[in-house]
Symmetry: D2
Subunit: 457 residues, 4 copies
């Protein structure tokens, strides 16, 4: 048995290292697979054996191609659900017992009946070496497969609930990442940074210099694997431009004199942890850590992208039209912008990739586009939440919208998604709680006077 | 708010350190407390605030006396259960949808409706510093209170399920404990060792000598707090006598030449983790670790107490009677034992505390009492499990009953619970799985030929 | 060869563990031993072999009894000194070359000629596991043997020079010791504490409580072996009484409110490091560390014994006589002290062990004896240094004599050496440098006005 | 004072970080500098102050340009030497005392008189943060300056002696370097690798893969700064070609099946530690570590360059001539090599950079050039040591010359220094000691039969 496991794990490692080819799952193998899953649920031979069976099943899963994995997950979803009759009878017993002392036991029995053997199979994987990472990656598969399959969507919700329990913020460790951190970890920052790509090890070293800070949350069972990380610059005023922050040739600022911390990049790294929230805890803990080390810090602000702006504007060209007055159109014309209405302007902006480099044109566009952006941030809604995903995150954490930064990100991506604008969200300890409550109650977000003025224009 | 939390935590720490007096909970405070609990469930002000509220509730809990704590837990149990009507309607919807695609969503909705707000309150405590230990200790309270209160018993089952998830063996770390370990940890071994009490730091040092090993499981969020630990002696034959193993003046054995590892003490330390099983994983991992360090080791055996023997014999004096033949009675009489039947013998044994020190008496008692012990171990049952709790643990892990050791523990406790006998359970890798299956199927336990012979006598 | 070394080291470890009997060194073994030493010097077979030979020689040394060790060290001292003729010729060449460019090379050649093969033998021991500790312990032997043997005294000076180089303060690590430190280390604090004996592990834990600090210097090659350690109490006024500080039942003080750090015990642990000074660096570094953690700390003071007082008074009974006026004698008589002159008083004090417990007697003795103590501390000299060894240490580090504490240490040792008095030396950052210079220039020590007044009386 | 030091250190750090411009040392500053040095020697104000003065002097040194540093070191060399008269008188006293007990003291006094105040100044630098690294770097300067200056050469010898004592192999830690090591350390491997340049982080990761090992020696006071490191490949036969070993696309070998460890690159990293030998200890320790982890390893071999071959051949063209017979010349001619004598061949080889890529030419050159190389390795001498520096290192450590590898390194450097050949030195535990002794006695090196045959040809 132990020899079998050893071989299984060796194969598993080979697969993790990507050295074997994925294989398909034949129809005729399904009964055997179901039997194995059943044995794993039954716990025949005790807990230890059940875990070893799970490890072998995990190795099987990893050896499969996408279609095989989907089939295997469907098998788990469909063949190991609750027993409807037992649920019905325990439910009836509970309803009847309500109000008596017998209700307590009855409730527990109903919960047991509904308790899922699917989860039992999934959690057994955790005791393998790297088992937790295996489950997180399996969930990333599951999310993909579940889009078009309600059975897998249900399995996904069960796995999510399990991961929410395991990745409870109480179990996470806040770690400061520096140039002294293991290369195997830093390599992952390079891979995971999605907001402002890290171009090289030299670039990374620059982001870990003495006027920078980088923090991540780790789970004790996924060492060297950051779950979420934030990059911070210590400066002496709120930053308006991300290219300046990322410039490797900029002089190093003496962090002892900093009064402002700019969170200029926040990245969730594990697709498989979607729905497990810890970003807000991260920012809170980072602020505490920074305050202790740099008592002079007074302002905590982000320098954030506005990823949904141009798409939203495309859907609301009437509002764009509203934001532009007669005199604006005249100035735009003088600056060589050929458009004469909102739609036309949007079309022209997405076709001319060079406008930001022409000072006169950029100057003429500035006020009208900032008004559109302000309106989007302050008023744009998807359901009863802010339309912009980054705004949703920060406003939900209690920040306020502080300042728009014209041409704050002139990289291609920045121009395409938000006409080069960035925004500062400000974390003011005295307002956070009230802001979160306003957010929960779907009230208008906290915003600076100037932003509100622009939005109202 | 942060200031409040700070004061709350300071008080909490003061309480942990045992520097404040517990106080009672007045009837008039209950509505406010319920409101606080409700706010914690509602998550008003966001996740971070909800956690802070939980921390304050935890401080309140710790400040209370037993009666106050019981009242507060009852409040959680009774006021935050599932909504019976919502459960009924989601249940009906699910039953109706069975067999259609809509069933998947309906199942999830039913599960949500049954999902407990009680657990939500409890898990929020985990994000405090020392929050996990707080919950484990709270459960120790709960177990005590729940004996006579079905509502609290139900709450206990929910908390147990949560702890089972958090203390999944995949999250535990196996740590070898040595004389280089922190004093703050070693101090706890002294406190927690319940099988063979550790008399002093000198005694402890002796148990961590070069021919000894000590291992424990730790949870990443409860540092310096062993969950279970096992003490091992490396020797060259199966040990028969625990006093010899514990003798601080015995010469140190050269562990390089050991062929046998004796697990002579295993201790669960946290009452609040009752029902969370990891003992079997511990032994498995320890065996692997020992094998790697000492390739010559061939035999892995316990030297275990038989805690339930004399109590069981008291309940089955007829079986005792059966185990003693004519010639035995003659020999006992000659050796000065005044009893003439089973009951009388049992009574005399518990009244004469010195018999083990009289060689002739002890010799005469040896065979009859060993027969009783063998029968108890091999045949004694409580329900469909072995009657002896230690036998239950080891047989459930796949061990076999190998050998009885006459006068293996002549300390008072040993004489009182098992007439000074100890037993070796043997872990033979080739038999473990089969033994576990036999155990699960409630078949007779694996036992050596000589033990079976004695039991059959 | 490696097998030999392995056996040698095994034996060496056995000896370290004290499991073998020391043996004597026979006359007939000396030539072989000298040959081995010579081979070690010659480095035949390369550096690695030379080190292995040294390890075998170390094992030999450890196996010997005192007389054998002394003989072996004498052999090293006498047979491996410099070549007098070569020294003479290189010396002549250097003197002749002085003033020319050739002098540089000549100086180096003279230094080489004088360079000691003895040191070469000794330093080779360092590459063994535990080799540095071996040398420190060897030096402790050497110090003992050298008292009556100038050859060994010379060898001792060479070894001291080597240890001074290795134990340069730049190589030492300041470590804070807590109850989380390894038991193997804490055990040594108990063993090494010589100022105020640590009675038990409980007592030790009390000295590491949250209102205490303990720091030690460690050498990277002697892990778990503190070289010097200081115990600190955080309090809110200068402590006057050591029994109060050591009282395990005293309430724990909230260190956050402390304004004063009392260094109440400083211990050098390694006899073999005599002459290697690092105590002053320790105090400086500890003060810095405390200031960073507790910015409210303003006063850094010792609570020190006065070990040489009564012995000095015995040698200067005339000065004692001077310190006692007419009225003093009257008051003493009234309080039941039978003496009528200085000598008599001293004799009576050392014969009556109970006087400190009689309030009236103690009150009458207070002023006269404090005057004697003040005079001893301020004026008592041994050569051009303070007579009291503890005063010598602290005044040499720049402290000032701040306050006498009547009955500050009423343990037997305290009464015997200083009539129960203790003294506070104060470290005032603004005065330290000036005080050290005054000390180096053999000027009178810095002392508080009241102490100077008492001394002048 | 402390404020001064703080400013001094801040400046020092700025200089280390390369943020300030070096400045020159004016003639008029010399008296003040000499006074500072004198104060540092005198230790006025105690040891602590002396160290602080040293830190300020170090900051001064670092702020200077090359000419200023040279002047400052000259000042230390010339103004703080021994007092010639005192040396003369103590020398005379010692010579006179020889044979009496007074000689011991006299010898110590002579040694004291000769003892250098220069060393005292230098060692004081060590107590700064990074002080040891400062001294190592200072010595790198000194080595450069000393080439043309006997005074600085003498100072260098004193500093070397001090560094030999501090960097005694007993103080070094062997550390295995992996991809989990801090990036700040790995960055230095990239910088320091001089044998086979590391082209990128990807290349480095490849060299730390599971079939590779990398070890370094560290000094406790120079963390993250490897002193010497060796790169090892685990393979199943002696490697002949370094390009194959370095190929990032080669499949990863399963190290569990390796029987051979190839040391393919050894680098000393600190110029300032010239003369401090630890390379031999490194190899010995690495072999031990590898043997423990991979018991199947039987062969330990290098794959080494032959850096001095072509230069040596240029100086000994007659020997080249001897190595080439009639038939060789014919074959060379047929393969298109135009040369007709040794000199001509050497000239042609260094002018035609492409010959190695022409199979027929390379084949014709193979035997003659291997004969030259074999002769160089086996017989080439510089004084009584092997002429080749790499041969000197490995033969001095007890290796034997095992095998020549034709076209083992076809990079430009390899072709230029050794016509593309590499050599395996073999470490055979059974021969090491004998080989080292042969080396010390300047006997011919151990070499395989085939190599000796080639050399004798």
């Amino acid at each position: 048995m132990d020899e079998l496991l050893r071989r299984g794990l060796a194969r598993f490692k080979g697969l993790v290292a990507g050295r074997s080819r994925p294989r398909s799952l034949a129809e005729k193998d399904l009964p055997a697979l179901q039997r194995q899953l059943q044995e794993c649920v039954d716990g025949l031979g005790g807990e230890v054996s059940a875990r070893q069976r799970a490890a072998r099943l995990a190795a099987t899963y990893l050896s499969l191609d996408d279609s095989g994995r989907r089939t295997m997950l469907r098998l788990i979803a469909t063949a190991f659900g609750p027993d409807a009759e037992k649920v019905a009878s325990t439910h009836a017993a509970w309803q009847q017992a309500l109000g008596t002392n017998a209700a307590w036991d009855a409730e527990a029995r109903l919960r047991d009946a509904l308790g899922s053997r699917r989860t039992r199979i999934l959690t057994h994987f955790s005791s393998m070496p790297d088992g937790v990472k295996f489950l997180v990656d399996l969930r990333a598969d599951l999310i993909r497969y579940a889009r078009s399959d309600p059975a897998l969507a249900a399995l996904d919700r069960e796995l999510e609930a399990q991961l929410v329990s395991w990745f409870d913020v109480g179990f996470l460790e806040l770690v400061r990442i520096t140039w002294q951190s293991p290369a195997a970890l830093l390599e992952k920052l390079i891979r995971y940074e999605a907001v402002h790509a890290i171009g090289s090890w030299e670039d990374l070293k620059n982001r870990l210099d003495s006027d920078r800070r980088c923090y991540a949350f780790f789970h004790p069972r996924m060492p060297l694997e950051p779950l979420i990380f934030v990059e911070v610059a210590l400066v002496d005023e709120i930053a308006a431009n991300v290219q300046a922050l990322l410039d490797p040739d900029a002089p190093v600022f003496d962090a002892e004199h900093a009064n402002t911390a700019i969170f200029y990049s926040i990245n969730n790294t594990q697709t498989g942890l979607r729905g497990v929230s810890f970003g807000n805890f991260l920012l809170k803990r980072v602020v505490e850590d920074l305050k202790r080390d740099y008592p002079r810090l007074k302002t905590f602000s982000t320098l954030s992208p506005i990823p949904g702006l141009t798409a939203w504007a495309g859907e609301h060209s009437d509002l764009v039209e509203e934001s532009i007055g007669e005199s604006d159109w005249r100035r735009l014309k003088a600056a060589g912008v050929p458009a004469t209405d909102g739609k036309g302007l949007l079309a022209w902006l997405s076709s001319d990739r060079e406008w930001a480099a022409r000072p006169a044109t950029a100057r003429a566009l500035r006020d009208p586009l900032q008004r559109v952006a302000a309106r989007y941030l302050v008023e744009g809604r998807r359901g009863d939440r802010p339309a912009d995903p980054v705004a949703r995150f920060h406003l939900g954490n209690g920040a306020r919208i502080e300042r728009l930064n014209w041409l704050g990100d002139t990289a291609d991506k920045g121009l395409a998604q938000s006409w080069g604008m960035m925004v500062n969200y400000l974390y003011d300890p005295d307002r956070i709680e009230a802001n979160v409550e306003a957010f929960m109650a779907a009230k208008p977000p906290d915003a600076s006077a100037s932003l509100r003025r622009m939005a109202r224009h």
